[in-house]
């Protein structure tokens, strides 16, 4: 399935490295990345793809928790279907 991961937090060195390393460790492929700094606030959106039968989205969210804590970030992963639906309304 396709999912959208959003990463926000105060900007500092190594955020992208920490997030993408954690994704690589879980064998999750990144299809697209958009990243910007808004008022010193780091904002990154990743479009990722993974095999639903092998990965549970709740488990991925849980696996990102150590990165959230260590890097002081807010990371969410949500099905792309949600954003498509909201955008179409």
């Amino acid at each position: 399935m396709f999912a959208i991961m959003t990463v926000t937090g105060v900007d500092h060195t190594g955020i992208i490295a920490a997030v993408t390393t954690a994704l690589a460790e879980q064998d999750i492929n990144i299809l697209d990345v958009s990243q910007t700094i808004m008022d010193n606030y780091f904002t990154m959106i990743l479009r990722v793809e993974f095999d639903e039968s092998a990965h549970d989205i709740a488990a991925i969210q849980q696996a990102m928790e150590p990165v959230e804590k260590a890097e002081a970030l807010v990371i969410r992963i949500q099905s792309e279907a949600l954003f498509t639906a909201v955008n179409e309304i």
Partner: protein, 255 residues
């Protein structure tokens, strides 16, 4: 981003969830009990319990899976059933036993509420409907999750004054029986005029007889709708607020 969603769309959606509390208010499973009538109340209760538990066994689990997938909370998981007075018609015994069976079933599957301990008597009440109305105080004071409703009037048939009088006594007795719990029984009772054929909204929820065996209704909150409607009404009177809520250009139900 190069695919069909851009960053702005995505961040707007996240803002809706975080700031305006976009959530799925309720997922309500409507279950027809029409084929649960048996010769005795005990057998009817067993049939009702078994059917509700089998139909809704995975309701909460599936809702939790959807919550995780979408990252949006589903606040309530509920069940509505066919108005019970239709099931207990011709069955000897106390209809409150069915309420107790429904309460056990609701607990078993883990839903927040179950509605449908109901009777539709706008034009007149059958024997089983009268018995059900009389049993409402007992049913609501001895169960936790069961909700009850009675439709006593329609624009076409007028008001069933006998039912209105009976319900007055029912409400008083329900309040007295749960006086030590803030009269909670009354919070689980709705008396309707012009109720619709099928209603997924608690506490007046019931599964309409024109519905199929099993239906799932989803209620989504309108993020920011009320906020926007009230935004320009600083210092307005309550009447003006009420008017805006009912007729405002963006007016939509929140639940």
């Amino acid at each position: 981003m190069s695919f069909h969603l851009n960053s702005r769309n995505i961040l707007d959606t996240i803002e809706m969830i975080e700031k305006y509390r976009l959530d799925i208010r309720t997922v309500t499973m409507g279950i027809s009990l029409l084929f649960c009538s048996r010769f005795t109340m005990e057998e009817t209760c067993r049939a009702v319990y078994d059917l509700v538990v089998s139909r809704a066994s995975r309701l909460v689990e599936v809702c939790q899976g959807i919550e995780a997938e979408l990252g949006i909370p589903i606040v309530n998981k509920r069940i509505s059933v066919t108005p019970v007075a239709l099931i207990t018609a011709g069955v000897e015994g106390n209809p409150a036993d069915v309420a107790r069976a429904l309460d056990r079933a609701a607990r078993e599957v883990g839903v927040n509420f179950l509605g449908g301990y109901s009777a539709l008597v706008a034009k007149g009440a059958t024997t089983s409907e009268k018995a059900l109305i009389r049993s409402i105080p007992e049913a609501l004071s001895e169960t936790d999750l069961v909700c009850s409703s009675v439709n006593i009037a329609t624009s076409r048939a007028g008001i069933n004054m006998n039912a209105a009088a009976a319900l007055g006594r029912v409400i008083k007795e329900a309040a007295e029986l749960t006086a030590d719990r803030n009269a909670i029984a009354c919070a689980k009772l709705v008396v309707f005029a012009n109720s619709v054929g099928d209603n997924p909204f608690m506490a007046g929820a019931y599964h309409g007889v024109e519905e199929p065996d099993c239906v799932v209704s989803v209620g989504v909150s309108g993020p920011g709708v009320v906020d926007r409607a009230l935004g320009d009404l600083e210092g307005a009177t309550l009447d003006q607020v009420a008017e805006e809520m009912m007729t405002g250009p963006d007016a939509e139900p929140e639940d």
